[in-house]
Amino acid sequence: MVDSLKQLKGEKMKKVIMTMLMFLFTVQTYAVEKDISFYVGHSNGGGSAGMQTIIQQELKNKGWKVNFKVIGNCGKVINLMETSDKPILAGWAADWNTSVDNVCYNPPTKKNFMRIFMNTPRLLCGPYDNLAFDLVPGQRYRVGVNQGQNHDVFLNSLGEKLNVDFKVIEYKNSGFIKRAMQAKEIDAWYTTAGLPQHAAKTQKCLYGTIAKEWQGVVPLNTLISTVNVNTSWIGFLLVNDKVDGALKRMLKQDLEDIITSEDYRGRQAAGGFGDFITKDSTDAQISLIEDTTEAFKK
């Protein structure tokens, strides 16, 4: 009897302590002003800036006061993150971290990392409206790629494996590559832009930087085992050191809710970037980013 009374008191005590802790946490949470500057280093108009625009709107819907600016220059954003005394959230790309000498070098750590917000595979696709496209051994193919990302290293290995000759032509961005495809200047492209056309069956993609087979696209890691197969486009969110404590916890939770929501994923898929957002742990996400960064190195 006495034991059960003691047990009851203990349980009550636990409840009281838990309630007080929750109360204190809530008070602390509401005491922190949900105010943040959100800077975009990518150019205005691109897919990355587009998805970050959606995220900032959702943050506002969740009660955040967001100073959102598309700076369009990662060097300026990194400078603002280092020098500003205000809390800053910023979108970053895995391929910006390939060299410590790069002005935009800012690798994710447990301290500054929030989460991945975009993960779009790179596909090797044929010309528009040619659904019979295939790589014939012994043939030469002009392949359009994004400049400065060392895709020639991987494509040469793939060419050797498939016994085809890839002549790699580097273009400034996907817009230039699309125009080159329309002009029949290239025979194929290796970019992140082929997902919607392949899904709509207006263009045939053969291989991709995907973990498992997707709509007939073969995962490249089943053909080649080098790190260069991981050149998906991965975008992630980082914060500066002014974002910490309760503010950081709230921000991380809200970003998690926004980015894993059906609505966000649907909008990303509708924008032509697929639905490859991972719900993995922070460690696993950082590891994926590091692997991807490695893939862009020679």
Binding site: S43, W96, V103, G148, R179, A183
Partner: protein, 441 residues
């Protein structure tokens, strides 16, 4: 719907205003409209541009005839015929004929725009990188032969423009390339376009007319000379000349009206009422025609060939706009349908305003011109500040603007158009050369 109506009205009013104002060309108009353009979807930005520039051409001839000033090169024929017009009290007739000619010359290019775009799109050769290089080389050549400066000055200006365009932290895939940033983060974004165009082109042009005084009595405007027939064939000839000259890089719109004026001089060389009206109407018709076809290279290839269009391109490029691809739909009609509908409505509004209300507008402008010119420079300064605040670089933007405006005003004898053209084509020229090195290397 409200977005389209507002774009239609704001662009038409702004264009009419800019055309009437001495010194405010279409580049200055686009610069002051930047805060609005940043908030519009790319298709509406293009519609705004087409309507505003078209409207400014309608009213531009009014400024040239009434005030005797040349806001832009396109007004030269009106200025050349001005003495005869004033001497013979033909202002009202001239304004009526140029307004009718302008509206007529809009119709043919508007109807031709869609087939022209389709033709360009069907010919894959035009999309090729080597073709683009060809267009860029022609632009450079036109800049070198630009008449207002000597060839050596033009060469220096074009080279400087290309050099300035490369300043900053340039993305090259994974690696960022620094060029003349002196390790200063505020330089990473490069020299802002709005400062280059506003400082070197718009401010010096406005400055030239800051203390301008009217030399004609606007009470004469409503005394119309009867008995003169509208020169229909001259207008059609001018419209056709403008249609094709608009496709010429850098100078298309400028030489359109001058070329049509020269051509019409062959048909009507005399110095009488009929000949003067025929030449003037032809020149103004060409003016409007060229303003529409100048859009073709932009819409198909993404290449801007005149300064005001370059400002438009710099805005729409930031909005995921891809040349030749528009999925924008409204009320079941696509972008090109809306472009044509709004151009026709805007032309009608311009005709009404240019012809019916011209006396009161002229009077008002005459009284307030100095103030408006000063206000325009101020608005431009605010637009620069706004553009800077969008990227957290207000001081840098304003400093560049002030510095370049001082240079522009100090070197008033130099026309900086070749520098601006070099600045705008710099990036695409270098990218094109790099791509071709991969293709043919």
């Amino acid at each position: 719907m409200i977005e389209i109506i507002l774009t239609l009205l704001s662009a038409t009013v702004a264009g009419l205003f800019a055309g009437l104002m001495p010194g405010i060309g279409s580049s200055a108009l686009m610069l002051t409209a930047l805060p609005l353009l940043y908030n519009l979807p790319p298709e509406l930005c293009i519609i705004f541009y087409a309507l505003a520039v078209q409207a400014s051409q309608f009213s531009g001839s009014v400024a040239a005839i009434n005030f005797g000033i040349m806001g832009e090169l396109t007004s030269y024929p009106a200025l050349a015929e001005r003495n005869y017009i004033l001497k013979n009290n033909l202002q009202q007739t001239a304004l009526k004929f140029t307004a009718i000619g302008s509206i007529l010359s809009c119709v043919i290019p508007i109807l031709m725009l869609y087939p022209l775009l389709e033709w360009f799109r069907q010919h894959s050769l035009i999309m090729r990188t080597d073709f683009v290089l060809g267009v860029l080389i022609i632009i450079v050549l036109f800049c070198l032969l630009y008449k207002k400066n000597s060839k050596s000055i033009n060469l220096l200006l074009v080279s400087s423009g290309i050099f300035i365009s490369q300043i900053g932290l340039r993305s090259h895939g994974s690696a960022e390339r620094e060029f003349f940033t002196f390790d200063q983060p505020f330089m990473y974004g490069g020299i802002p376009m709005i400062a280059v165009l506003g400082g070197l082109i718009a401010v010096p042009l406005i400055w030239r007319y800051i203390d301008w005084k009217a030399d004609v009595d606007t009470s004469q405007i409503h005394t119309e000379k009867n008995g003169l027939k509208f020169p229909l064939f001259s207008s059609l000839r001018g419209g056709l000349v403008g249609l094709f000259s608009g496709l010429l890089p850098a100078v298309g719109t400028s030489i359109g009206s001058n070329l049509a004026w020269k051509v019409e001089s062959k048909f009507y060389p005399e110095n009488d009422h009929k000949s003067v009206m025929a030449r003037l109407t032809s020149a103004e018709s060409a003016n409007n025609g060229s303003q529409i076809t100048v859009l073709v290279p932009l819409l198909v290839l993404g290449i801007a060939i005149i300064p005001s269009e370059m400002i438009l391109l710099s805005v729409i490029e930031t909005k995921a706009w891809i040349p030749g691809q528009s999925f924008w739909m409204f009320l079941g009609l696509g972008f090109y349908s809306w472009l044509m509908i709004t151009l026709i409505i805007s032309s009608l509004i311009c005709y009404l305003v240019s012809y019916v209300f011209i006396k009161s507008i002229s009077k008002w402008l005459e009284n307030n011109l100095k103030l408006i010119n000063r206000l325009t420079i101020l608005i431009m300064g605010l637009a620069v500040f706004y553009a800077g605040s969008l990227v957290e670089a207000r001081i840098f933007f304003v400093s560049c603007f002030v510095l370049l405006a001082l240079i522009g005003v100090y070197f008033k004898k130099v026309d900086f158009i070749p520098l601006v053209a070099g600045y705008f084509i710099g990036d695409i020229l270098i990218d094109t050369i790099i791509i071709l090195s991969f293709i043919y290397g």
